[in-house]
Symmetry: D2
Subunit: 304 residues, 4 copies
């Protein structure tokens, strides 16, 4: 096993040396007010060891990383029928694009673009009586962290500027691919995005995907096949139109959020979350990408 | 002057001989229930003579033809500033396309596609205290027909299936090009589309564009320049992605609606409305197109 | 009849007062070397009177204006079968776009975008034994100017940088819509674009479209229907993605070229050519557009 | 280690039971004449053991699988500068699309779509004196098979119908991203596609990517980093717009060709080639996809 603590120290000290010049997401106050130069990283191995550096206990808004957790919740009960309503191909386009959605008759390219996650939320609305509460419990269960909470002010701010998502919801409803009220779907979606977690907590949640669908306790949340396929989707679709770049440079399945978090897994080896709020031009954490690239360069253990 | 009555008779008898195989618009009950093989035509000359054949007094849903009347109402008070929020180019795409709207940052290609008419409605909401009532009065004034009314059941049905328009409204609001509540804009837009008029009545309303912006009374509603420019827009953008075809085959400025109506003008000579509910693949009245093509073939007086 | 000479004088003196800041086309030396601030205008009435101002006798490269003459030559012998290989709708896209061509399976939107003119050239290659020579004779005939010539150095320069056109030719050949060798088509096309004429000469050539297809001698080159339809196409498609703008602001059928020329007609009244080399962002002569807009503002006689 | 021979037998007997209804590629005679129901599979482990079933020694046209070998050849000498001329993102579009290429100014999305492989060929033309001969030697070296040959009649047929590729080459040359003559690039590209190999031979060639860039002899052809990145590209871009589907269902880096071959690797474990000529709607071998899906289902050892 590599000396992960030494590697995280190296990553952290390099991060202090390199200045990131990206901007913090600014479209809602809850994100714009975050101190930009924070940096944390946490890594958990398959054998249950934890390593961390920097601001790894600071809570941040997980934003689109919640899309993986939403998909996991659906996949924990549903079968292949979900893939009739959402695809598994990379979008090749920025994250809010309506073009493909219209061209492809309301079937989103994959569950990790906004349109796809909105469909997943719509499915969950049909499966659970109180999906907001049930989703929180699901995240608490898989992370082992009992006090995960929604940030209501972030959720509300998101709803106020959710015009692109409302456009996509209406478009998909016109194509028959949204079954509930647009307002209910957007409410649940914005709540899910607003969850605050630390690098530490999120790494524990993502251990599920590193452990082929099982909790530390041995309980199976996802079959091995489903866990592998969620990893495959993260590999090809986890970083919007920078997914190929992440796969090329880092070589791990992962998912980013505009809050500056990036979660990734090396199946059978470790899960890892890096966080730093400044984003590059594609909306992914600049320092987070560098950190994970260095991690697989130093350990030599990408999945390829 | 050509013998218009003889020409309309010829058009009408040809129409009886030729079967149209298009379908009536079926997305709302108010349109789907219309008897499909009706056909009417009315022509009014610059000197005030009226000619008609067939079901020219039957009321039909004017639908998108209202887009010209909405633009005329805006143009009657506003200046060139409206052209900062909507373009004057043909869309080259089907009438509900979100692709261009996203690519062009929420500025619709022209006021005769849905997105453009929604922006015009949004402008009217800012100019008038009671735009629904004021628009009805405007149409009554220019047509000289005092009992023009909204068809409330058609308007309601339209609102229930207006997902594409809601998608576009939200998209444009995200770009800052819709200033009022999405619900208020869609309500006004659906009301405007629901107006019922006959070929006779609509021909009188369109006499405004034939008369360079003046009513029969001599009152100027639009300057000559504004009237000419509305005609130019009808010429290039009046028939969605069949606009070039209409210009090529008929050679007049005009506007179609999915209710089966087509209004056209030969500036300085006549206004004309043909109506027949069966639509071709592009959503324009099949028999109406044939009728107007024959009209300019027989009279030899297209604008070119 | 308006006092055309006074109007041209007004246009000319305004042009001297207003500075154009556009750039001369620079992708080939033959265009880049033209002195940028030249300006000429020539107008010929239906009754055969000629009016001119400025550099109206200076030869310039007609470039894309030749597309109208190529279409006229095809239309002078062929019937509606040409419209199976090229459309009549505005492109809504810049002039070199391959996107639509691929999406629409090798059928160009209209004969006035490059792809469409290439198809017209391909048709002419099948109709004439020596199309380069025959086309020159056709232009000489309709303009009444016996010494119209190709500018071989311009034609050669065009061929050397014709990558976009070669891409389109190969794409269309893949779809079966080009029947001759790509090299033969590009050679003829570049020759046609290279023709040099003055405002005076080109106005005489375009008199054909003002005169409903007849020469001054009364000889019919095009039927009235064909002449009207070529005008309709100029109206909707003559200025690439600025066609709506020209129709909206000038209100005449017309065609521009990157050499700085703009030819337009007011059917039954006059043909007119303005020329000035500086182009706006859309590739149309900035001063030429202003001149023609002023012409129809002052005469009040656009076609609408 | 799984019992690979038993697994290949299971795959083979299932293949006999399931009828594929796809069609053999028919655009050139050399592919159209292949007997459609052949099926072969060969697997080679990291420890050098070989397993095979069916027509695993039959030569077939490797077609686009050559794109991986071309990239490996470039990567064996060049550094990151090649990524300035070709991207690393999934295309999200069918394999001949010009749309993205135009939109992205002549920079192909990745080296495994046609446009990208054409750029790689153009780079190789600048690096080698006799690239056709040198590429053959490179494939012979990495596969250990001395008699690998081009199929000249296939190469010639390809060139005769290469209109889409010529369109893309001209487009990219217009953007400055092709440095050699279009004819030279297309010649080399069509030669590379025409290589005939068996499942057996191709599996040995792909062992390079399974072995992190080293030959059996221990000789390093690619650094471990470069080998991993080629695998990452195969993972995200190896199957045109079915790349996500392959990643999702099979979970291995791989590359398909219209000759019906699919090569894939499980890094550190095995390389595998399945071949069967009938293609699905996306242009990938129908039986080959089923075979590889079953392989990772049965072994449980996808990379995720």
């Amino acid at each position: 096993m590599p000396d992960y603590q030494a590697i995280l120290q190296d990553i952290h000290s390099r991060n202090l040396a390199e200045k990131s010049d990206g901007q913090v997401a600014s479209y809602i106050p809850g994100l714009a007010q975050v101190s930009p130069d924070q940096f944390g990283i946490h890594l958990r191995t398959a054998s249950g060891e934890d390593f961390s550096m920097g601001d790894s206990e600071t809570q941040f808004s997980i934003q689109s990383i919640s899309k993986v957790l939403l998909l996991a919740m659906v996949a924990s009960t549903e079968g292949d029928e979900i893939w009739e309503r959402v695809g598994v191909e990379a979008s090749g386009d920025p994250f809010n694009s309506l073009v493909q959605l219209e061209y492809e008759k309301g079937i989103p390219r994959n569950p990790f673009i906004n349109a796809g996650a909105l469909v997943i939320c719509d499915i969950l609305l049909g499966l659970y009586d109180d999906p907001e509460s049930d989703f929180l419990n699901f995240v608490r269960q898989i992370s082992g962290i009992p006090d995960v909470r929604y940030d209501q002010s972030v959720a509300e701010s998101e709803r106020e500027v959710a015009f692109q998502n409302l456009a996509m919801l209406n478009l998909m409803k016109g194509f028959g691919n949204i079954h509930h009220e647009v307002d209910a779907v957007i409410r649940f979606y914005c709540a899910a995005c607003s969850i605050s977690m630390s690098c530490h907590g999120l790494t524990h949640a993502f251990a599920l995907f590193m452990n082929h669908g099982k909790l530390d306790s041995g309980e199976e949340i996802l079959t091995i096949n489903k866990a592998k396929r969620i990893n495959a989707l993260m590999q090809t679709c986890g970083f919007y139109d920078e997914s190929g770049e992440f796969s090329f440079c880092v070589g791990l399945p992962g998912k980013s959020g505009v809050g500056g978090g990036i979660a990734a897994v090396n199946p059978g080896r470790y899960s890892v979350v890096a966080w730093s709020p400044r984003l590059n031009a594609k909306g992914n954490s600049a320092a987070g990408l560098r950190a994970l690239r260095r991690l697989t360069d130093l350990t030599g253990n990408s999945i390829f």
